[in-house]
Subunit: 343 residues, 2 copies
DNA sequence: ACTTAGCACTCTCGATCGTTGAGTGCCATC
DNA sequence: GATGGCACTCAACGATCGAGAGTGCTAAGT
């Protein structure tokens, strides 16, 4: 009883189960795959595979179904890379390049993954932590409010309203000249710095502008630092939720737990950053600690300009998914996305 | 056989069916509602109501279930306004006022509606068409690109990258002074104008700046006009999709059609704008022409500053929903949202 | 003219119970 | 170590049946 053939049997089981969605027995296995042995032999192999925990049977005398461990082994050692077709690649390229801004790029990336995999897509916004400040803009809005617009070098734009002390409160008026000066000072201070270093740089600015402007400058500086702080750092794009419903019967527990997990963006973010890895990362079933996703698998890949990953994207589907195809799709979209992103 | 009592019976049927989720028979009706007559009398009334098309029975000898027409009558003539509780109102107020920017406000409004109604929430972004331009900002990015940021007086911010002719192409360099002049001209031209009037105003600017700057100015003007054009005008926030799954069994056809309809933002937008109405608008079951939503009802309300509606929000759930509660929630959130929005 | 009690009738739902067929495990054999 | 044969198990399917809920109708009451 060769180890090799046993693995071959496991691969056959996984592939068949993924396509048919039904427990696979020894007979059909010999019919659909040229294994060159009889069903009885397969049964012996399956007995061993079951003992080792790679497959299981839903009930006595049904076919076998891969366990999480089985899928894991399949992904790690058995799956063959299945490159996308040329038309698919071309579709990705053109669809992404038609995007008009960062939001649009990410939304499109999500749609692509959702469509390619037939599953749910998750796209994380470029991390603010690793990016720099490209420009800071202040627009007066009424007497005592500013609209502060922050633009990062990853193309991300955040805006906040900012209440500032008015002249009547002892602060200085928000005239155009003052603002221009402040803008110049802030932008000069931030030039070439990572966002992480902004608090220090901005504090120096507030110091330098003198007491007359300190109130306004301080308010703006605080706001910017807060805006770029951790809590607000992360955002996520979801796509293809409807695909879940189509594979509804797949989830024993029903869709609710999965949908709930997807709505908890904080949790999703945790999962993504945790899985963030050089190549393509895969979490199978219970490997996700999250309750809602014990019947689901997550395939992620980093993306970012050059060798510098700025965020993560991925696909979420039932444990019984087409891993090679999903991995290929996620990988491809991540690569093209990296290429399209503003450098 | 009084008409009044028959309507009372209809109301009782709707209310019972909404809470129990089961067809309601004549006996339980007399038990749960003090109608003062016997089951037999109720049966007569029900026969008439069925003849008139307001109720129906799933099969012979099950209880009665309201039809779309029944719900319609209920909503139009029978539903009593059920104001929110004080804590609920307070929750809305504080939760909305904690928002940091427009995106955040809308997301929070969505979450509120989703939670209050236990259904799916839809929030449309303030229409660009009816808003004015507050500020136009141009930030140089590299040699031949500008990041153009458009801020409307509803607080909405759109950004686009803009390729401009460089000096080597016969255009003028993107120096700071030039940009400042352009910025001043554009903003002056746009002051007090609706977005609809921008094309004309901007064309004048392009004319006025002279041939040296016409290239850059034209590119920016085109981009802005395009950005604010119809196709890009509308965006939508969804919340509470998971709530759908919980009332899964409600939808005969399964969740897929509903989820698909929700993902088609274009269609949703059409629905919202079509329903946009002064007070609260309700579409029941087949009244939505959309295939996916024939088993669903949509409750919407306009919102906006003062008496000037800028967009629509609403809640989507099964035909058998608690209309009074849903209407109250949607109405309340719309009102508070109007109040919180930047004036 | 409306309401009510009584009653026969209908139809769904759930339980029970063989039957069927797929699939296994084991044993004897090659 | 592989294979053919064989008895065994168990979910799935379908038929049958009784219970219960609810109706419509009729006849009697107010």
């Amino acid at each position: 009883m060769s180890e090799e053939r046993r693995l071959e049997v496991l691969r056959a089981i996984v592939e068949d189960y993924v396509t048919t969605r039904e427990p696979v027995g020894s007979r059909v296995l010999t019919e659909r795959h040229r294994l060159g042995v009889s069903p009885a032999t397969i049964r012996n192999d399956m007995a061993v595979l079951e003992e080792e925990g790679y497959i299981t049977q839903p009930h006595t005398s049904a076919g076998r179904v891969p366990t999480d461990a089985g899928y894991r082994l399949f992904v790690d050692r058995l799956a063959e890379v299945r490159p996308l077709t040329i038309p698919q690649k071309r579709a990705i390229e053109t669809f992404l390049s038609e995007a008009v801004d960062l939001d649009d790029v990410l939304v499109r990336a999500g749609r692509l993954i959702a469509q390619l995999t037939g599953q749910v897509a998750v796209v994380q916004y470029p991390s603010l932590r690793r990016s720099g400040l490209r420009h800071l803009e202040m627009v007066p809005v009424g007497e005592d409010r500013l609209l502060v617009v922050v633009i990062t070098d990853t193309g991300r734009v955040e805006q906040r309203f900012c209440e500032v002390p008015t002249a009547s409160d002892g602060g200085s008026a928000l005239d155009v000249v003052t603002l221009a000066e402040l803008r110049a000072r802030f932008n000069a201070a931030a030039a070439g710095k990572r966002l992480v270093d902004l608090p220090v740089a901005f504090a120096a600015v507030v110091e330098a502008v003198g007491p007359a402007l300190a109130g306004v400058a301080g308010a703006v500086a605080d706001l910017v630092v807060d805006t770029l702080g951790q809590e607000n750092e992360e955002r996520i794009v979801l796509a293809g939720t409807a695909n879940l419903a189509r594979s509804e019967s797949t989830f024993e527990q029903g869709l609710s737990p999965v949908l709930e997990a997807l709505e908890e963006q904080v949790i999703l973010l945790g999962l993504l950053t945790e899985m963030s890895s050089d190549g393509v990362g895969v979490r199978i079933g219970h490997e996700n600690r999250l309750d809602g996703l014990t019947e689901a698998s997550v395939v992620v890949s980093d993306y970012g300009t050059g060798g510098d990953p700025v965020a993560t994207l991925g696909s979420i589907g039932p444990t019984r998914m087409d891993y090679p195809a999903t991995i290929a799709s996620v990988h491809a979209v991540a690569r093209y996305l990296s290429r399209v992103l503003p450098s």
